[in-house]
């Protein structure tokens, strides 16, 4: 196909949008509504994933030390802990710091006098490497560190971590299942919408056939039209979604819009759907026409 022809055919798709304004309007609105449903789903799962990630970053292990340890004991503990493959970072919290934090959070005057001194031990807050933030590693680390001489007690909230892992897995499976169902419905809707625009223009296909146009020639204007419609619909859906997210966030707070990468993925997916929808529809019409 010559470049001049390809340009002409691709522009035919763009001109088609203008020539069939009513049809284009219907197709774009239908696609926008479908993509908006997909967008709402994506924003929801994006926020759920974000929340889970946030919770996962809080998966840490608190190690409470025995009383009366020398600085050399602390240094030895730190060195051993840093060498552990699951540990990313550790922070020393002295009993004084812990007490200050505790008493500030309790907001009660003269608490130390009431309990007869600072009962809290020195401690280390251990941050885990992101890929090791799972119940199995945390439980193993807790058990291992409990055996160390310097350690009085280890707290990791193992049960809570297990539940969070299970919840994250369930959310992942649930969103995958819903995502597939929504994706399939949208493929069907977009494909049928594009098919309407193709079927309405069978005369063009017939004349192209009569004058000796190959199937490749015939497809190009419809593919370019399908892609353009899907692109416009995706932009409208994203704009609608942004407005809704901003409104909900201002009202209730905490809802995030999709990241630029997710937006790009959304546009790409919509364009791909438009392309597939028009390819399937033109193929169907060409088979039916059988000229």
């Amino acid at each position: 196909m010559k470049p001049r022809t390809l340009r002409y055919l691709a522009l035919e798709g763009a001109r088609g949008l203008k020539r069939h304004r009513g049809l284009t309007f219907t197709a774009v609105i239908t696609m926008t509504a479908s993509l908006l449903v997909l967008g709402v789903f994506l924003v929801t799962s994006y926020n759920v994933r974000h929340a889970i990630k946030n919770l996962e970053s809080r998966k840490e292990v608190m190690v409470y030390l025995k009383d009366g340890l020398k600085p050399s004991d602390l240094a030895m503990f730190e060195n051993r802990a840093k060498l552990h493959p699951a540990v990313q970072n550790l922070t020393f919290i002295s009993r004084e710091e812990a007490w200050n934090e505790f008493s500030q959070s309790m907001k009660v005057e003269g608490l130390q006098e009431a309990v007869g001194g600072n009962p809290l031990p020195d401690a280390y807050r251990i941050e885990l490497k992101p890929e090791r933030r799972n119940a199995f590693t945390i439980n193993a680390l807790t058990e291992e560190m409990s055996q160390w001489n310097e350690v009085e007690e280890v707290f990791s909230g193992g049960e809570w971590v297990g539940r969070l892992d299970q919840f994250a897995r369930s959310v992942l499976l649930f969103t995958a299942a819903i995502g597939i169902a929504i994706g399939l419905s949208i493929i069907a809707i977009v494909s049928n919408t594009v098919r309407l625009t193709v079927v309405a223009r069978q005369d063009l296909i017939h004349i192209m056939r009569v004058v000796g146009a190959s199937e490749g020639f015939i497809r190009v204007p419809f593919l370019s039209e399908g892609v353009l419609q899907a692109f416009i619909a995706a932009l409208l859906a994203l704009a609608g979604l942004y407005g809704t997210t901003a409104f909900v966030s201002a009202r209730f707070g905490g809802v995030q819009f999709l990241s630029p990468l997710w937006c790009f993925g959304f546009l790409f997916l919509a364009v791909l759907l438009g392309l597939l929808g028009s390819a399937v529809s033109v193929r169907h019409v060409l088979r039916q026409a059988n000229i």
Binding site: M1, K2, P3, R4, T5, Y8, L9, R19, H20, D203, L204, H206, I207, M208, R209, V210, V211, G212, A213, S214, F217, I291
Partner: protein, 230 residues
């Protein structure tokens, strides 16, 4: 040259009579031939076989060096670019101007630059007397004008043969006569014409060769005995 050798054509409906039975015709380059017969006689099937929209069940059709016995998809497209077709219902693209309808086959294959397209389209529109309507949409044209646009589109790509399937069926006698005159002018420039019609009155006094089809068989192939002598 177009040749039919013992062509039979049956559509797939069981129990139906064959659309064509043992058809043999030869149409020379630059010839004008009427294909006449009642509706359902097989005229359109003959045109479709020439255009290779259909293929014979038996026998062979040869069109401008292409044979139905050895056609590929690519060859069919090449053939169609050399054959002009007009239909009873015009089949114009309703959403674009007369100029764009005629320019469509030229734009489609990218063989002409915009200046050449402009010149060629203006030439054929002038030939059919519709240059002044170049910017109009098909809905603004009468039936006769729409058929003239369809003729302009059919010949814009210099076909060696023009197939006209009942081009005057929807037109009044005066307009029909105008269309026939335009087709004659196209023929005079060297394009062969095969014109299917059921209007016998167009044919009998024309002096042109006619092939009469009835129930799928050729029942008469008349050529003026003085042709070539006149």
């Amino acid at each position: 040259m177009i040749k039919f050798f013992h062509v039979n054509k049956s559509y797939r409906t069981p129990g139906d009579a064959p659309a064509l039975s043992d058809v043999n015709i030869t149409i020379d380059d630059g010839e004008f031939v009427y294909l006449i017969g009642p509706s359902g006689a097989g005229k359109t099937t003959i045109l479709k076989l020439i255009h290779m929209e259909e293929f014979p069940t038996d026998g062979e059709v040869i069109v401008g060096g292409f044979t139905t016995a050895a056609m590929t998809r690519k060859k069919i497209l090449t053939l169609r670019r050399r054959v002009g077709v007009v239909f009873q219902d015009f089949r114009l693209l309703k959403d674009r101007s007369v100029f764009e309808n005629v320019a469509f086959p030229l734009r489609l294959f990218g063989e002409y630059n915009p200046v050449q397209i402009q010149e060629r389209v203006e030439h054929v529109l002038n030939q059919v007397g519709l240059l002044h309507k170049a910017d109009r949409l098909p809905k603004e044209l009468s039936g006769g004008q729409a058929q003239r646009v369809a003729l302009a589109r059919a010949v814009v790509n210099h076909p060696f043969v023009l197939l006209a399937d009942e081009p005057t069926a929807n037109l009044d006698p005066k307009t029909s006569e105008e269309i026939i005159q335009i087709i004659r002018r196209i023929h005079a420039e060297g394009t062969a014409v095969l014109l299917a019609t059921h209007k016998m009155e167009l044919v009998y006094n024309s002096g042109e060769r006619y092939v009469r089809v009835d129930r799928g068989t050729i029942v008469e192939d008349w050529v003026d005995p003085l042709r070539g002598v006149k």
